[in-house]
Symmetry: C2
Subunit: 168 residues, 2 copies
């Protein structure tokens, strides 16, 4: 169950995010704005800028997979500064997620999940996924989207959700 509700959907949303960044870059170019100006943009002075929102979105997906399956994930040094570097970061995250199979998630639901800032406390894998990883993933993804919308980038809900597997 935890595989099904994380890996495919994180992958889909990261692909959507990569396309949204292309649209942001096109917008910046058309307005003769440096893409870095958008990366430094934020909605409140004490909120992370777009660059950090993008990094955390990727890391939330990466850590969710690695923690649930008790594997070491790749380390990223958070030094991206261009469209291409952020698209590469997203692609690397998607590739990492693609290495997991349902069988890697055996035992994940009851696995004790912790991280340094929790000071020794832990959640079960299910609690961590439903109450922490998924809400955080969408939080940073939507905040990235909101920063771009606020800056005038012409994107909409369909770009965020991506294609639906409609049947007739």
């Amino acid at each position: 169950m935890l595989y099904q509700i994380t890996i495919p959907q994180f992958t889909k949303m990261l692909n959507n995010l990569s396309l949204i960044l292309d649209r942001a870059a096109q917008y910046a170019s058309s307005k003769k704005i440096d893409f870095e100006t958008l990366l430094h943009s934020r909605l409140a002075p004490d909120q992370f800028p777009l660059s950090r929102q993008l990094q955390i979105t990727c890391d939330t997906a990466k850590f969710c997979a690695s923690r649930l399956c008790a594997k070491e994930g790749p380390v990223h040094d958070d030094k991206e500064r261009s469209l291409q570097e952020f698209k590469t970061r997203i692609e690397q995250t998607i590739s990492y997620l693609g290495m997991f199979t349902e069988s890697d998630f055996k035992g994940a639901e009851d696995r004790k999940i912790s991280q340094p800032r929790w000071e020794g406390k832990n959640l079960t894998g299910t609690e961590y996924t439903l109450q922490h990883a998924i809400p955080n993933f969408y939080f940073h993804l939507t905040t990235a989207y909101a920063i771009l919308r606020h800056n005038g980038v012409d994107i909409g809900k369909k770009d965020y959700l991506g294609p639906m597997p409609f049947k007739t």
Copy 2:
């Protein structure tokens, strides 16, 4: 599975949202701003304001439950204009979600889900939940949060996520 990943977490996040609105109202009062000014605030001129984000957050949870279980949900006329009216709307949504049990979700995974704007097309219950309802719910909730952050309300990620069931 679909019950477990929707009803308890939607309920928790709606409770968090109600507390966030209290904080917004306290902020408005301290700054001598009408709460309605926040309700009319938006991040882009062609984006829904806070009031509509709150209504859609509630409706996304309500419709997810009612559609997955093939029940008629309560109708709301979207006329809320005050803190108390929005808190009541959230409470009514939480009460509605509380009427569902796991057994109501029997058959939900393969149920054909549609809505008028899909023009006859449909998704399975699982596809709808994972790719549409959950991402939309967090989208509108996070956008509501972002509008308040942008207006200076002193809220943080912990208010969004709510309490974690930590164990030691």
